[in-house]
Symmetry: C2
DNA sequence: CGTGGGGTTGAATTGTGTCAATCAACGTGG
DNA sequence: CCACGTTGATTGACACAATTCAACCCCACG
């Protein structure tokens, strides 16, 4: 399931030692960056389970490259995807208890693994690190709360528009050039609290209106304004 | 809207100076407890807006007594309640930017207000405090993620059963004695991503099956096992 | 060149929302 | 102290958005 990649050069993605080297483009600032702890380099193949649901929380991870989903599975098969995570993101951060969500590789993934106790120790001795970590956690709370609004109050069409906007913001390096969605329609559906069919219909509807171009995984936003409108806007 | 309660003795609820005094029953452990920062005592009346949606994040709050809801309002009137908060809980914790959610008093509320910059400073000099704060934030992430599953994948009946279970766990000091829900049906509906009518129907259904007794705000769980079953259980 | 898994589309079904009426509780002022 | 208006809760009838069930397509892969 896991490939320990000790022998593999990951320096392409992030400085190993943690001192020199500019951060490569596309990798956002995050705690547990180069300068922090060493972290064990790892790889996980497509659909590999990185964290099992219910497992004791001992390790957390930072993504170097690739995409990860967090997943909660109900006994009758219903599934909720909690988040999609990309390079720079942390996960497995359920300090103390069990992992409430599983974490699975959406694509082949390069990771760094950290013992949670090591991270806590580091936080206890390095204020700057602790502050960055705290900021990151607070941001995560904001992201989750925002998603609550989507799941609780938005229509199918609005959810899909919001999703495309979110993914474009996170993945589209050169605005307008389009993105390749790494995840399946089923993943998207379970992230948005919909069915695969509804996601499809929503996408074809947007295509029909000329708002986006869709070809399997390839998405290009044609009319950003229209997409924004479909999002189900903010503030009273 | 606010009543500055400087002249008011809140020592009934929590030690002011922050050294002596046992924690009163019903107030769970949390950071920003007595021993931390002073914090300005405040009061807010029923339905008062404590934090405005979109306001610059400058202060955060700990609840001493009463109930608070966090709310996001969409321009067409749709509303999502992010969380219900009780004694010991913190809110307003959107460090750095704006408050994405408003915070409103569900009941009359006694609070302590803290400057976020003061809290950050304290965290930078007191590892123990920083750790407790971090643990609390992580727990909040867990709570939010759990709610994602409810909103994304549970049926109306399951949401209502989950809600009653949650509230009983948090409010019922003497198990089986029942609770008084401080919030309206509309609040419950907006928390669960439903309408008032659906919440009502769900409650009467549970009543009809003898699972709970409902009389306006008063709720008594009669058959905890049956309620647990209706919850839409965990783990695959 | 079959085979199978994801994706898309169509038709039927249903859970939940919408609209509307009634009821109960409460505060207010005559 | 009671009539009244107001607000929240409950119930019913109906509508509709999204799910379910089903068929089909397309491409990747053995």
């Amino acid at each position: 399931m896991f490939t320990d990649a000790t022998g593999l050069s990951t320096s392409r993605f992030l400085p190993l030692g943690g001192k020199a080297g500019a951060k490569p483009a596309g990798v956002p600032a995050s705690p547990l960056d180069g300068a922090s702890l060493p972290g064990a380099p790892m790889r996980a193949g497509r659909d590999a389970e990185i964290i099992a649901q219910g497992a004791r929380a001992e390790y957390c991870y930072r993504i170097v490259a690739g995409c990860v989903r967090t997943v909660k599975l109900l006994e009758d098969g219903r599934r909720q995807v909690g988040a999609f995570l990309f390079a720079g993101d942390l996960f497995g951060w359920d300090a103390g208890g069990e992992h409430a969500f599983a974490a699975e590789a959406v694509t082949d993934v390069t990771l760094r693994r950290f013992k949670i106790s090591d991270v806590e120790e580091r936080a206890a001795t390095d204020h700057t690190f602790a502050t960055r970590l705290r900021r990151y956690l607070i941001a995560q709370i904001g992201v989750a709360r925002n998603h609550l609004v989507l799941l609780g109050r938005k229509t199918a069409a609005e959810r899909i528009a919001s999703f495309l906007t979110e993914m474009t913001d996170r993945l589209d390096s050169r605005p307008g050039s389009g993105i390749d969605l790494p995840m399946s329609r089923a993943d998207i559906a379970d992230y948005l609290g919909l069915t695969v069919e509804t996601v499809c219909r929503g996408l074809t509807e947007l295509r029909r209106h000329g708002t986006v171009t869709v070809d399997r995984t390839r998405i290009v936003i044609r009319d950003r304004a229209a997409l924004g409108q479909s999002t189900g806007v903010r503030l009273h």
